[in-house]
Symmetry: C2
Subunit: 205 residues, 2 copies
C-alpha cells in the first residue's frame, strides 16, 4: 500500500527506543505531509551528528568534537571540578540526571553497559581496564557507584566494589531513595540529590 | 550541558507528533551512541523522501513519484476499482485504515483537514472545488463520507452532504460502530468494515 521509500523510513524510525511500527508510520506520514521542511532539516542534522558529536574520549559522556577531531565533554573540561572523586554510571542519560541534581562535583565514568549474565555480558565486556587507567591518571581517592538499583545494576556495583577496594580506593554506592527496579533517568532531582548525599560504604567481604 | 548540534536534533525530533522534549532527548542519545549507522541511514532516507514520495495528484493519498515527476497512488492506478464510488476521508492514516478493512472498493478523496470554526477553518479552507471536479471527471454516483465521528468530523460531513446532494450524488455516512470522539486510525478492522457496510443515507433537509 505504501511506497518503498516510505516503508524504509518507517523501518528506520521503528529502531528508535520505545517506537513500534504504528508510531513509526505516524512519524513518517507526518514528515511527508508537513510543509515546514522538518524532514530536510532532520536529514541535515542527522548527517552532521557523527561529525560534530561523539562520546567523550575520557568519560564516555556526550561531547562536541573540536577542530583536532578530539572530543572532551563539559564535565571533563571543567577545571573547578574534583578529579579525585569519580562517579560511575551505566549510561549517559543517568549522568545527565545526576548533573541536573547538582549534588555531584567530581568527574564521571560511563560504563555503557551493566553485567548481565542472561544476555552474555560478563566482567570481560565491561571497560574495567580503562576504568583502572582513569584511577591512576586522575589520582582517584573515592568512587561513587551510581548504577541503577536493579538486579544488573547491583551485580555490577558488587563487582566494581570487589575490583576497586583492592586498589585502595574508597568505594560507595548511591543511597536507597531511588526506588528499587526504577530507572535513574526518570528519578526527580531531590531523590537523586539525596541518593548522592546518603551514599554508604560498600564492602565486598 | 549538551552540545548545540545535539540540542538542535532534539528540537527537531520534538516536532514529531506525540513526542515531547524528554522522548526527543532519548531518541537523540540513542542515535548518537548506537553503532549500526541508523543516524546516517535515517539522514539518507529523509533526504530522498521529498524526491520519491508525494501526495497523489488525484486523491491526496501517499504516492510514489514516477520518472515524469507525477505522483499517482496505488488506489488511483488500480483499474479494477470502481471510480463511481468515492470515499472522503480527513487524512491519509484514515484511508490506510479503511484499506486494511478491505470493505471499500471505490476511490478516495483526502480532505487534509476538517471544518473547525474555533481554529478558523471554514468551508473556504476545504478543497471543495477540487472535489467537485473529481465528481464530474469520474462520473461519481455515490459518495461515502468517512470523516471521524467527532464534532469537527460531523460538521464537515453535514457540509459535504449539503453541497453534494444538490449535485445529484447519493451521499452516505459511515455507520456508527466507530465510537464517538474516537480516532479512525486506531479503530480495528472489523469495526471499520461494519462502519462501511452499515452506512446510512445523509439528508441535509
Amino acid at each position: 500500500m505504501l511506497p518503498d521509500a516510505l516503508l524504509h523510513l518507517i523501518e528506520l524510525l521503528a529502531r528508535l527506543p520505545g517506537v513500534g511500527e504504528k508510531t513509526a508510520q505516524r512519524f513518517a506520514l507526518h514528515l511527508v505531509s508537513e510543509k515546514t521542511g522538518t524532514a530536510q532539516a532532520l536529514s541535515e542534522s542527522l548527517k552532521q551528528l557523527s561529525e560534530r558529536v561523539k562520546s567523550c574520549d575520557r568519560c564516555g559522556n556526550i561531547a562536541e568534537v573540536d577542530e583536532q577531531g578530539r572530543a572532551l565533554c563539559v564535565v571533563c573540561r571543567d577545571k573547578r571540578r574534583d578529579p579525585s572523586t569519580l562517579c560511575i554510571v551505566a549510561k549517559v542519560q543517568d549522568l545527565l540526571a545526576i548533573e541536573r541534581s547538582g549534588a555531584m562535583r567530581g568527574h564521571y565514568f560511563v560504563l555503557g553497559r551493566l553485567l548481565s549474565p542472561l544476555d552474555g555480558i560478563g566482567p570481560d565486556e565491561l571497560p574495567l581496564e580503562r576504568l583502572f587507567e582513569r584511577l591512576s591518571e586522575d589520582g582517584v581517592r573515592e568512587v561513587i557507584v551510581a548504577t541503577p538499583p536493579s538486579v544488573d545494576g547491583e551485580a555490577t556495583a558488587l563487582l566494581l566494589a570487589r575490583e576497586l577496594t583492592t586498589r585502595g580506593v574508597a568505594v560507595s554506592r548511591i543511597a536507597s531513595g531511588v526506588p528499587h527496579g526504577g530507572d535513574l533517568e526518570f528519578a526527580d532531582q531531590i531523590t537523586l540529590g539525596r541518593a548522592i548525599e546518603g551514599r554508604r560504604t560498600l564492602d565486598s567481604r
